[in-house]
Symmetry: C2
Subunit: 177 residues, 2 copies
DNA sequence: TTTTTTTCGTAACTATCGGTACGAAAAGCA
DNA sequence: TGCTTTTCGTACCGATAGTTACGAAAAAAA
């Protein structure tokens, strides 16, 4: 997961995974079946490590703007301090979708839908509680939040400082007020 | 250019380029020197075809908000009607930067800086003409516009309808008012 | 201990990648 | 026409991708 995250899901061959992990190649294949299976498992692990916390933020009972603040903090976490790579494996896989196998691509699609649903129901709850007035549909707004997350992760991967990214996120979300 | 644009800059092998173009492999190598040289040339062609028009919009003497409208129209152009692929080769290359050769990567960096500079000087002109009040630095705002462009291109590549993308762009830019 | 079963890694296989040696064909020139 | 030069593509190269056959080692059962 870390290798794909740091170097790109299609940039690390199985041989390199073996070298880094100390596992033998047949060992990898006995455990994951194929390159595709390994990537799928890595994405599953990423889901547990990163996407689930994100969904938990969206499902929390804080006010809309408290959640927005939590999202911003989450997006611009200092990765070096956490010994985690910059960027986002999930968005990287979405960008490399055409080069992934069937299993991984299916998982990407599933997690994307799951994430958009999480945004949408959060937005619907905020609307019904009167914390948010929006003239656009909730699914479009969900796309917007997901998009801003993607922006932030791409910028982080490109080396932009987190506090600069934070300023752009505030610019993006201030328009909702 | 079209092949890399439609299928991804690292997803189309030289053999496939030969098949599609009808050129022989040594012909490709005599013309472009290497895979890297070919990708660089494709990106250069993309610059002429897409990035230059974008820079022209930014350099035009319209008002700030007229330019914003022009940008939105430019980003959500119907590609099918123009027989052009969805998404953006430039952003695709930025996402695949680690898998590109030295020449192409250098060109990507150069064009990225050129684009950010174009945004920045446009924003500075708008500020000095009093058309735009912003508390954030112009280079950060430039990153923001570039980021929204990236969002839009990723969404288009993922199959989101252009009118939905347009709504998210308006949401992103309305915050500047 | 001996036998059976399971675990595991060396070493190979096939396909495909980017890249090129070299001879044939075409073009230019006499 | 005959000779030189340039243009061009077949057929190959080494490297590396993902994948696996198969024998050795370890564990379990006898």
């Amino acid at each position: 997961m870390i290798s794909y995250w740091a170097d790109g899901p299609t940039a690390v061959p199985i041989n390199e995974i073996c070298r880094r992990s100390g596992a033998s190649k047949p060992g990898i294949y006995r455990e994951f079946g194929s390159d595709d299976g390994l990537k799928e498992a890595a994405l599953e692990a990423y889901h547990d490590a990163v996407l689930t916390p994100l969904h938990n933020i969206l499902a929390s009972d804080q006010s809309f703007w408290q959640v927005v603040e939590a999202l911003i903090s989450f997006f611009v976490q200092d990765r070096q301090q956490l010994s985690l790579p910059d960027g986002c494996l999930f968005f990287a896989m979405r960008a490399h979708k055409d080069e992934l196998g069937d299993l991984t691509r299916a998982k990407v699609d599933q997690l994307r839908q799951q994430t958009l649903d999480a945004y949408e129901s959060w937005i619907n709850r905020a609307k019904s509680k009167g914390q948010l007035k929006l003239e656009i549909p909730s699914d479009t707004a969900a796309l917007y939040f997901d998009a801003q997350n993607g922006c932030a992760m791409r910028m982080q991967k490109e080396g932009i400082a987190n506090d600069v990214i934070e300023q752009t996120l505030r610019l993006a979300f201030d328009g909702l007020k």
